[in-house]
């Protein structure tokens, strides 16, 4: 056989071999077990370390805060929704407690958005005391207890 062809056949075989070798390394072992995805996907996710402790675990120590939260309008929220994952702190109280999110986090729900129900408390962040943090006026565990003057000044639902 002419050398041109033999060399090209070798080169092609080498490329195909590299492809299958790469597949051997790069395709996850459980891929295709049930379908076009990793069969172990759920197991792998289940094996991830637990980061959230849950509201009940927080209430075991932070009874007062939990009670206030249960009575306020944020009662539907979990503690860790604002404070961040606290499993490590719940396991060992000596571990630093998670820090509450900043004001931008409040705006995820309370920034004005036309598609939100009109009665839902919403503000234009740029107009509503832009230099202050939300928690300086609003008590996050019971947000309706905001200081009288502040809540009456501009916290009404914004109408556009």
């Amino acid at each position: 056989m002419p050398p041109q062809i033999t060399r090209l056949v070798y080169l092609t075989l080498a490329i195909v071999a590299v492809y299958f070798l790469a597949r051997g390394f790069l395709v996850p072992a459980s891929f295709g077990q049930y379908g076009w995805y990793r069969g172990n996907a759920l197991k792998e996710i289940a094996a991830l370390p637990i980061r959230y402790a849950g509201r009940a675990a927080c209430a075991e120590c932070h009874e007062e805060a939990a009670e206030r939260l249960a009575k306020g309008s944020h009662q539907g929220l979990s503690c860790e929704a604002c404070h961040g994952p606290g499993a490590a702190h719940a396991e060992d109280p000596a571990e630093a407690a998670p820090k509450p999110e900043n004001s931008r986090f409040c705006l995820r729900c309370h920034e004005f958005n036309l598609s939100r129900p009109a009665k839902f408390p919403q503000v234009e962040a740029d107009d509503h005391f832009p230099d202050q943090k939300c928690a300086e006026c609003h008590a996050p565990h019971s947000p309706m207890q905001a200081p009288e003057d502040a809540s009456k000044r501009n916290a009404k639902p914004v109408k556009k």
Partner: protein, 404 residues
């Protein structure tokens, strides 16, 4: 809602007209997706021009044969980059090839691309250049010697029998390459043509329109490059070659214009419910890029100019002929880009309600901005400069190309 998102939404809402669904306000495919079919079209067109020499023995085109192949290679290397830029996460790009799914157009593109690059273009280049590699390796030193030697793949036989075999195999590869080039670019047309929910795209003529426009743009690019490079090299332009390119370009342009006109006649005669919005789109939002750039500047003007070079070739001076070829090739390149723009962007400007329009505002910077598109368009030319330096398409003698 994050303030910046709200800002952009409020701004976008000022630019919509009529009834538009919320998910039709902003465009999913931006200017980089315009660049993508443009580049693959140039590859296919350049390759088809080269194949005219190999398969159909059009001797007049020989001066551009190797340049066509190198141009196709330079643009083919850049072809997947717009997709990588658009999709993000380039570190995961291999996954589509590692676990390909038969129903995934992206995965199939990976294989069509790999086939075209490795089984067609590189093979054809190798068979054509092997003799030169052997001779250049002997006549050069250092890195270049090593490069040329590696590229010979150890086959250093340059006997007439071996060269004849190279020729034969090269022609065989080109015969396979023509349908492959059609497949590569027909696939791009298929991506749009198969979107049955979009009346601007969803036509079976789309792959054919893309193939013809690819041929037009590729041949125009080669004509432009041949004229510019001859000027830079200070060598006279081979008028026989230029006229041959001009004839093929004119024929391809006539075919392309005919198919696109046919598409419009078909749409107008069928007069489906979407026609009204499509006519409004073409005559309104796309008036500049469709009627003025694509039709007038990119099709009618070059048709007239190329036609004039054919009809009055005895009566007009060579200088004027060259100018007409240069201007018409440039206009065609701009026109085909406008065609890609009209397909990709135009197809997203009207709402699925068929009752409203949105606006595409091109960003200057950013992942999908104008600058990125410009970089993606410049990149293949830079690559081509490098390829021409190392694999001098005009040097078939024993001296290696001077790369300094």
């Amino acid at each position: 809602m994050p303030p910046e998102l709200r800002e952009s939404l409020l701004e976008a809402l000022q630019h919509v007209q009529g009834y538009i669904y919320p998910n039709d306000v902003s465009l999913g495919w931006s200017v980089v997706i315009v660049v993508y079919p443009y580049i693959t079209g140039l590859v296919a067109g350049a390759f088809i021009l080269a194949s005219l020499v190999r398969v159909f023995h059009v001797k007049a085109l020989e001066p551009t044969y190797r340049l066509s192949l190198l141009t196709a290679l330079a643009f083919l290397i850049v072809a997947p980059l717009p997709l990588l830029v658009h999709l993000g996460h380039p570190e995961r790009c291999y996954e589509v090839m590692m676990t390909p799914h038969a129903t995934s157009p992206m995965a199939i593109f990976g294989f069509v691309y790999a086939w075209y690059l490795m089984a067609v273009l590189l093979l054809e280049l190798w068979f054509d250049y092997r003799r030169s590699f052997v001779e250049w390796a002997k006549a050069s030193a250092g890195f270049k010697r090593l490069l040329y030697r590696v590229l010979t793949l150890g086959v250093e036989d340059v006997s007439p029998a071996a060269i004849q075999l190279d020729e034969k195999l090269g022609r065989f590869i080109t015969v396979i390459g023509i349908p492959s080039a059609f497949l590569l670019h027909g696939y791009v047309g298929f991506i749009f043509g198969s979107v049955k929910a979009n009346p601007w795209w969803g036509t079976v003529l789309m792959p054919i329109i893309f193939i013809f426009s690819a041929m037009v743009s590729g041949i125009a690019l080669l004509m432009f490059l041949y004229l510019v490079i001859s000027r830079l090299r200070r060598v006279p332009v081979d008028m026989g070659c230029l006229r041959a390119i001009g004839t093929f370009l004119l024929s391809a342009l006539v075919l392309d214009a005919a198919v696109e006109t046919l598409d419009w006649i078909h749409r107008l005669y069928e007069a489906e419910e979407s026609l009204e919005v499509l006519v409004l789109l073409a005559s309104g939002k796309l008036f500049f890029s469709f009627f003025l750039v694509q039709v007038l500047l990119g099709t009618i003007a070059p048709l007239a100019m190329l036609g004039a070079t054919q009809v009055f070739k005895e009566r007009i001076s060579l200088r004027l002929q060259k100018s007409l070829y240069l201007v018409s090739s440039l206009l065609i390149l701009i026109g085909v880009f406008a065609m890609r723009w009209n397909v990709v962007i135009g197809g997203q400007l009207f709402s699925k309600s068929l009752r409203g329009f949105t606006t595409y505002k091109i960003a200057l910077v950013g992942q999908e901005g104008l600058l990125m598109a410009v970089v993606l368009m410049i990149l293949p030319f830079l690559l081509l400069i490098g390829l021409v330096k190392f694999f001098d398409p005009w040097n078939t003698r024993e001296t290696p190309p001077a790369t300094t």
